[in-house]
Every structure is written in structure tokens, then in C-alpha cells.
Amino acid sequence: MSLVFAGVCSHAPGITGRAHRADPAVRDAFYAKLGEMRERLEAARPDALIIVAAEHFANFFMNNMPAYCMGMAESYEGPIEDEEWLGIRHTTVPGDSDLSRRIIESMMGDIDLAYAEEWKFDHGIMVPLNFLTPRYDLPVIPVNVNCQGPPLTPLPRAYEFGRVLRRACDAQAERIALVGTGGISHWPATPNSGVINEAWDRDFLERFVANDRERLIAYTDAETFRDAGQGGFEIRTFITVAGATEGSTGELMFYAPIPIFAVGCTVATMNLA
């Protein structure tokens, strides 16, 4: 089969962990759109979900940091964070090691990605799964793009990674869904937490839904850091999804800054061509 669904959403830990502190009207509107994203995902009847996230030192550290890594385990566990702090119970998430292996083997002809048979999920994956597969009944294949410990993969490579991922998915018999998770502009885990550059976000999202490769890869990391904070480095996950859906445009289902969540909360899906 092929890629049957693609989308992006935010993953900030406050979305679940500090839910009670957000404006209920905006929060519930955001949750509703995440619910709609889940319905679209389910309607695509996927056999597996590839989730491209920017993790936060749950598995990878500066002793041996891969630019790209894909999980190849039978199952995964998470969250690493305190359950009460994150508002998500510790659980086991099913994987599909055979499908992982076939995708990795297919991709290796074009791109050097690392693989991992052991992987603990942090909020970057658990928060989206909490809304998209709340019963943890869909096999998940995690992918990490290093967005935390520079040097980081250049943006054109992130787009190319997405292209290669798409070709690998299209070569499999399974119906595969793809979700990218991350923030756009944000300064998480710094004294600037809660600051959001809405104009920058809306401009980025306009480039994203248009799938305008040249404009998506036009940022330097220095510009992103200045205008969108270190959290802005996570645009790599969105750009990977854009690369995987080259030729398709997207639909922005929701965007609103929610400062206590420390991010402009985003839900978007791609209209697969």
C-alpha cells in the first residue's frame, strides 16, 4: 500500500500536564481539533503509525547523537517523565519490528539513519499518542530527528529524509500513517517559557500547508534561534512531513498560542495527492 495519512501536531508537556491552568475555551477547542485529527487518522485505517518527533534526551545524548534514528522494537515504553507531572500514565506501546526493519533497509540506500531496538518515549511522542491513539492499540514506529543538541541536521536534509521515508513507506504492503510532532516558535524550559512569536508561526505554517520546499528550508539556525527560540529547531519534524508529502498541500486545522502550554498549539493534516 502506501502512506495513507500525514499530519503534524504540537507535543508540549503542558498540553496534558498543565491542562487545568489553560483558558478552558481555547484548550477545549484545541483538544477538539486533536480529536478530529484522530478521527481522520482512524478513517485512513492505518496498520502502523510512524511518529517523527524531536525527543528531549530520553534516549539520545551527546555521547553518540544520531541525526536521524528509527525505532525497530516490538514495543516501547513511556513516558519517562513523572506521571503526575505529565498527566499521562506509564504504559507499553506496541511496535512493529518487522515493518521497521523493512523501512530502515529500504531507506539505507539513500540516507544513513541509525536504528534502535530500545526506546523510551518522552512527551514528544506520548502527548500526541494520548490524543491520537489513546488506547495504544495501533503499532507505532518512532523516528527521532535531533533538534536538541547542535550540530543539527540541515533543513534541506530533513526534507530529503521525508522524501526517502515516503519512498520506503510506498514500497511496503501495510497502510502507513505519518505524524510529525514539535513546536514552532517557543522557548521551552528557559526563563522565556510561554513566549510565542505568533507572526513567525503563522508565516511558517503558511509555508508548511503550501508545502513550499524552498521557503521551508530557507531559515538559518541563527535566524530561527533569534526569532523562534531554541524550540524552533523542531521545525525539522514538520519539514520531514512536508518532504514525505511533496506535491501535496495541507490544511491548518488549528493554531492558537497557549502560553501556559509554552507553545503555539497546532494541528494540521496533509491532503495526500
Partner: protein
């Protein structure tokens, strides 16, 4: 300064219950495995989030560590701000370039 090892210890404490157990039960043995200055060692043992931030610890490591030691969200954000007021600007890493937008 041995920021790399400070971060490595926090990374392992955040993700590995076995390391946390050693931190509780045989802290000196565990800490001897990392190249830490006295200031770094004290900051970790004391849970001094403000000083660790000023040392340049990546915020994602520090956020998870603050949660691990039970700091409430506002307390944790304020600890970073107070750290800068007390110890001066961030000394190393990405956040040396960070412009204060919080005021």
C-alpha cells in the same frame, strides 16, 4: 567546567530508575564516575535548578530533572530567573545567546 558530565548525569537520572536508586543509596560512588567540579556536584545534590541553568545545562534536561525532584512549574521557572539574578548570565552553551523576553 565539565558541563558535558553534569548533563550526562542528569540525562541518566531522568531516564533510568536504576541510576536514581544508586543516587539515593550510594551517591558518592555514583558521582565519582563523573568528572564534576565541587560546584557542579553541589548544584546537583542540592537540586539547585537556578545554578544548573546558569552553568548551561540544556533546558530539556533541566525541566525533567526539576520535575523529578518535585518542583512545581512556577517554582522551576522562577528558579531559573533567580539563578541568573544571583549568579549572572548563562556561562556556556546555547543559552549564552538567549535574549530575555520574559519581562
Amino acid at each position: 567546567m565539565s558541563l558535558y558530565y553534569v548533563q550526562k548525569l542528569l540525562y541518566q537520572l531522568n531516564r533510568d530508575p536504576a541510576i536514581r536508586k544508586r543516587f539515593e543509596e550510594s551517591r558518592d560512588d555514583l558521582l565519582a564516575e563523573y568528572q564534576l567540579t565541587d560546584e557542579e556536584r553541589d548544584a546537583i545534590v542540592d537540586g539547585d535548578i537556578g545554578l544548573l541553568y546558569v552553568m548551561g545545562v540544556n533546558g530539556q534536561l533541566l525541566m525533567h530533572y526539576a520535575a523529578l525532584i518535585g518542583q512545581e512549574w512556577d517554582q522551576y521557572i522562577n528558579a531559573m530567573k533567580e539563578g541568573v539574578e544571583k549568579h549572572g548570565p548563562v556561562r556556556e552553551g546555547l543559552y549564552t545567546l538567549l535574549e530575555d523576553r520574559s519581562r
